[in-house]
């Protein structure tokens, strides 16, 4: 194993519209365990940002604490990043977003960081419909402290130490839909083909976009009997469809397999096309999405894909009616009423 990331890149590597190669979107060498699902998600984020032609300085990546929260170091090395405190990434993202509405905010969290210590902030950032992408790298355990069950560990799942989890799991997607999240998706770290269009669609979404990615922990939760192991997840995946993200103005060249074709036009004009496999479910209908999630739970399936989308809700900036100029660009002339205005204020206090 090497500890130095090679910098050499072939000069003929494809470039995106901004003239950047994929490598421009990479980060430092990952220090996670070999085979960690999180690294695949990082790769999907890199690929998505490259394909979406995102200027790296126009994206800020934020995280909490844990294995998952370490990953922002390993992608988008030319973007500002913020590794905050455990479970509190949503608040930092909220403040950052309020300061500058023109950037893309990509939050990364884990199941401990979101479903336990950060549950309060997760719930409230959804309530406010903060425009951000919120990815949970969900492995059902606490990796950095060596394998304790997390709150997303399924009831009956067996840990590496052989202990059966007796507690109910928190279903983050079900909760997000219940709370009114405007974009809710679930995927699997091993399914890049599905994950990349989902991340790209999340980047185009005008509101809170949540993606729960099942991402097995190869070191502490990949044993027989664990419901977050690679084998178990692969056996129980139930895709709602195949997805493709088509940016605005781009020629549609994708070939579809048989099935019912759908396309949802996103806020920025781009299209999310998908072949729906399950005819009972409509991702634009909250009740239908909830039903699909509940049914999957009953059947012990892991339903994946874009589960719910609502493009009609106002984001937090619209709700608090902030001006079009980012708040962090306003100057003294915009902000300070000056000594003259104090005469009136003083007079009112006499």
């Amino acid at each position: 194993m090497t500890f130095i990331k090679p910098k050499f890149r072939h000069p003929d590597l494809p470039k995106n519209k901004l003239g950047y190669t994929l490598s421009f979107y990479e980060g430092a060498l990952s220090t996670l365990c070999a085979g960690c699902g999180h690294d695949s998600i990082s790769a999907a984020i890199i690929q998505s940002a490259f394909e979406m032609n995102i200027e790296p300085h126009k994206l800020a990546k934020l995280s909490g604490i844990g294995c998952s929260s370490k990953t922002p170091t390993y992608f988008l090395g030319n973007s500002h990043g913020f590794n905050s405190v455990h479970g509190r990434m949503p608040s930092v993202a909220t403040g950052a977003n309020m300061a500058n509405k023109d950037l893309i905010y990509l939050g990364v969290s884990g199941d401990g960081d979101t479903a336990s210590i950060g549950m309060g902030q997760f719930v409230h950032v959804i309530r406010r419909n903060l425009k951000m992408i919120y990815i949970v790298m969900n492995n059902g355990c606490y990796g950095l402290t060596k394998g304790q069950d997390s709150a997303t560990a399924d009831n009956g799942s067996i840990s590496k130490a052989g202990i059966v989890n007796q507690f109910q799991a928190i279903d983050l997607c079900g909760l997000a839909i219940e709370l009114g999240a405007t974009f809710v998706a679930q995927s699997f770290s091993g399914d890049k083909k599905q994950l990349i269009p989902l991340i790209k669609a999340a980047m185009a979404h005008n509101g809170f976009a949540f993606i729960n990615v099942i991402s097995p922990c190869v070191t502490f939760n990949n044993n027989k009997g664990s419901t977050k192991s690679y084998d178990f997840v692969r056996d129980h995946l139930e895709a709602t469809g195949t997805f493709d993200f088509v940016p605005e103005m781009e020629e549609i060249t994708t070939n579809y397999e048989s099935g019912e074709k759908h396309a949802i036009k996103l806020h920025d004009g781009s299209l999310l096309q998908f072949n729906k496999l399950d005819n009972d479910w409509d991702p634009l209908d909250r009740f239908s999405a909830m039903k699909a999630v509940h049914q999957a739970r009953e059947k012990n399936e892991i339903i994946t894909g874009l589960l719910y989308l609502n493009q009609g809700a106002m984001d937090l900036h619209e709700l608090v009616n902030t001006c079009d100029r980012p708040l962090n660009t306003l100057k003294k002339e915009d902000l300070c009423p000056g000594n003259g205005a104090l005469a009136n204020i003083n007079a009112g206090l006499r």
Binding site: R88, S91, M98, N100, H124, T322, L327
Partner: protein, 608 residues
């Protein structure tokens, strides 16, 4: 009984039932004295309750301009049956009790050493008004009218006050004036006893204003350029952000669009509030939060992150009585140590200690400059007394030529010029490094902010020397901060005594009065008011050049004394605590009593 006339020098306490509209009537009384040019200071002693529990409002009138609380009630306005017995007992001998005589006072409430002024308030209201709400509200205005008659108020003051209060609702003026007249007429016709508490018009206040510290902080945040506030409601800090909201409505609307040049988020808890403020400041907006002790406790982890990751932020701590929920509606200065060293690990935070509403305004605005210049949290240490009670203050003023000091922030052109950006590289050798704001430059200046150790280029490291270099640089920054923070206030040009008295925040009022009282007793003490932590050279010199220093503070554990001992290595023997921690603002007599008592002890030891 003393019949000595007390002109512009007495204390009135109103005993009311919470939620009955007494606050505005009592304020009317207080404001009328203020309008007559006489120094006056009100203290609202209120319960943690919305309706029903006893509440008191104490007004001190002081021709000499002493604006601290004073012991000894000269006149009690007792209109709360629940607390009546205790209220009567608390009147100073020779004092007065004005009470609602609609119901007969129980015989055992009577005292021979005070004057009773009966007014059948409820009966008058029942005869005059049919509406139940009006009966309740005007009862309060009627006793103000009675007091005004007894004290010889200039009634034209009420006309102008009510005119200002009911601008746009003019039809409410006449009924209020009428209620005042009902009280006044009743006294004229019925009270034949003595009354020696009088007010006489003066011109002692010049251009002073009367307002509370929390409103001033909210206004200071507007002037200081805050564009984001996140908060969680907690007494006694709530009105800071509420004032900020009101001023934002007035000053932060974009004319062309009707959109707002500010965002204010009510967070789910104090942890989220400070997290949001950190996120906004990290992203280049000036942002603040306001809280009180319990909130500060919750914010500790994030404050450590902001210290270590070097993110500016402004936190306004309106202190109340702790620990735990303590007495949430009473005052104290008991968060000093918690604020100074908030969070785990080696941390130290800049503290500012305002004493007046004017200073709340100035120091809140200054806090934004300081926090960005020093890239660290700045905590404004105010308290319930300053925050929620009205105070006479110098008027607000602003120097329009002053620019916001945004500190060392690199813009696009700066980044173009430098070879390699090092976020934690001490280029100027003052401990303060250069930062960049996300979105500045496509290929230069990005870095990773974290609470974990990192090297000068912001790369994660667990290398011991790199960690220690960074911690030492933060100490260097702390030393630099001494040059930036507001200076202490000295009360004399030259030291004239081997005794010093040191105080801060709202203890100023009582401490200044105490110094005068001691002087009358031929005890000379030099005075110093601290305005910030780290301590400046003026404070250090003062502490070193006096044999004994009395440290006045409103907490049990002598927290400021501890801070001085820890930070400056001053020996405990030199520092004599003068403490007050009953939840009420400290009084001058209390300070004088403690100091003279200590002096007796000191002299006993030194002469043996």
């Amino acid at each position: 009984m003393s019949d000595k006339l007390k002109i512009n020098d007495f204390v009135v306490r109103f005993a009311n039932v919470n939620g009955t509209g007494s606050a505005s009537a009592n304020l009317l009384f207080c404001k009328a004295i203020f309008r007559m040019g006489i120094p006056v200071t009100p203290k609202n002693i209120f319960p943690s309750n919305i309706q029903g529990l006893p509440t008191w409002y104490e007004v001190r009138v002081s021709e000499k301009g002493y604006l601290g609380r004073r012991d000894g009630i000269d006149l009690m306005v007792a209109v709360n049956a629940q607390s009546m017995e205790a209220d009567i007992k608390s009147v100073h001998p020779g004092g007065y009790l004005l009470y609602d005589s609609s119901k007969k006072l129980p015989d055992h409430y009577k005292r021979d050493d005070i004057h009773f002024i009966p007014i059948p308030l409820m009966e008058i209201c029942n005869e005059t008004y049919t509406d139940a709400r009006l009966r309740l509200l005007f009862k309060n205005i009627i006793y103000v009218g009675a007091l005004a008659e007894l004290m010889h108020f200039d009634f034209t003051v009420f006309e102008s006050l009510l005119g200002d209060q009911f601008k746009g609702k003019e039809k409410l003026i006449a009924p209020n004036l009428n209620a005042l007249k009902l009280g006044s007429d009743f006294i004229k016709a019925n009270y034949k006893g003595t009354f020696d508490l009088k007010v006489e018009r003066r011109d002692l206040l010049k251009d002073a204003i009367m307002t509370d510290g929390n409103s001033a902080c909210g206004l200071g945040a507007i002037y200081g350029g805050a564009t984001f506030a996140a908060w969680y409601p907690i007494t006694p800090s709530t009105s800071v952000v509420e004032a900020f909201m009101e001023y934002a409505d007035e000053f932060r609307e974009e004319k062309e669009t009707g959109k707002r040049k500010v965002a204010i988020i009510q967070a789910e808890d104090e942890l989220a509030a400070i997290g949001m403020v950190i996120g906004a400041n990290w992203n280049g907006a000036r942002a603040f939060t306001a809280t009180s002790g319990p909130g500060l406790s919750l914010m500790n982890e994030f404050l450590g992150l902001a210290y270590f990751a070097e993110i500016p932020l402004v936190l306004i701590d309106v202190q109340r009585t702790g620990p735990s929920t303590g007495m949430p509606t009473r005052t104290q200065q008991s968060d000093i140590l918690e604020a100074a060293y908030a969070s785990h690990g080696d941390t130290r935070h800049i503290l500012l200690f305002p004493s007046t509403p004017k200073e709340c305004f100035d120091l809140t605005a200054t806090a934004f400059d300081l926090s960005e210049q020093l890239q660290t949290p700045v905590i404004l240490m105010t308290d319930l007394d300053l925050g929620m009670n009205d105070h006479i203050s110098e008027p607000f003023s602003w120097d329009d030529s002053k620019e916001y000091q945004r500190g060392k922030v690199l813009d696009y052109d700066d980044l173009e010029e430098i070879q390699r950006f090092g976020r934690y590289l001490d280029v100027d050798n003052d401990g303060i490094t250069y930062r960049t704001i996300p979105g500045t430059h496509p290929t230069k200046g990005s870095f990773f902010t974290r609470g974990t150790s990192r090297d000068e280029y912001a790369a994660y490291t667990e290398n011991s020397p790199a960690y220690q270099r960074n911690m030492d640089r933060l100490v260097k920054k702390w030393v630099t901060a001494r040059e930036y923070v507001p200076s202490s206030q000295l009360y004399q040009n030259q030291h004239s005594s081997e005794y010093g008295i040191l105080f801060f925040g709202t203890s100023q009022y009582a401490a200044e009065e105490a110094m005068d009282m001691l002087k009358e007793d031929k005890i000379l003490v030099d005075g110093l008011r601290i305005k910030s932590f780290p301590f400046d050279q003026i404070a250090i010199d003062f502490l070193q050049n006096h044999k004994y220093i009395f440290i006045v503070e409103q907490n049990r554990d002598a927290q400021m004394k501890s801070l001085i001992m820890i930070e400056l290595g001053i020996s405990a023997e030199k520092l004599i605590s003068v403490l007050n921690y009953d939840g009420l603002p400290i009084t001058a007599t209390n300070i004088v009593h403690q100091i003279t008592h200590s002096l007796e002890r000191v002299e006993k030891y030194t002469t043996v």
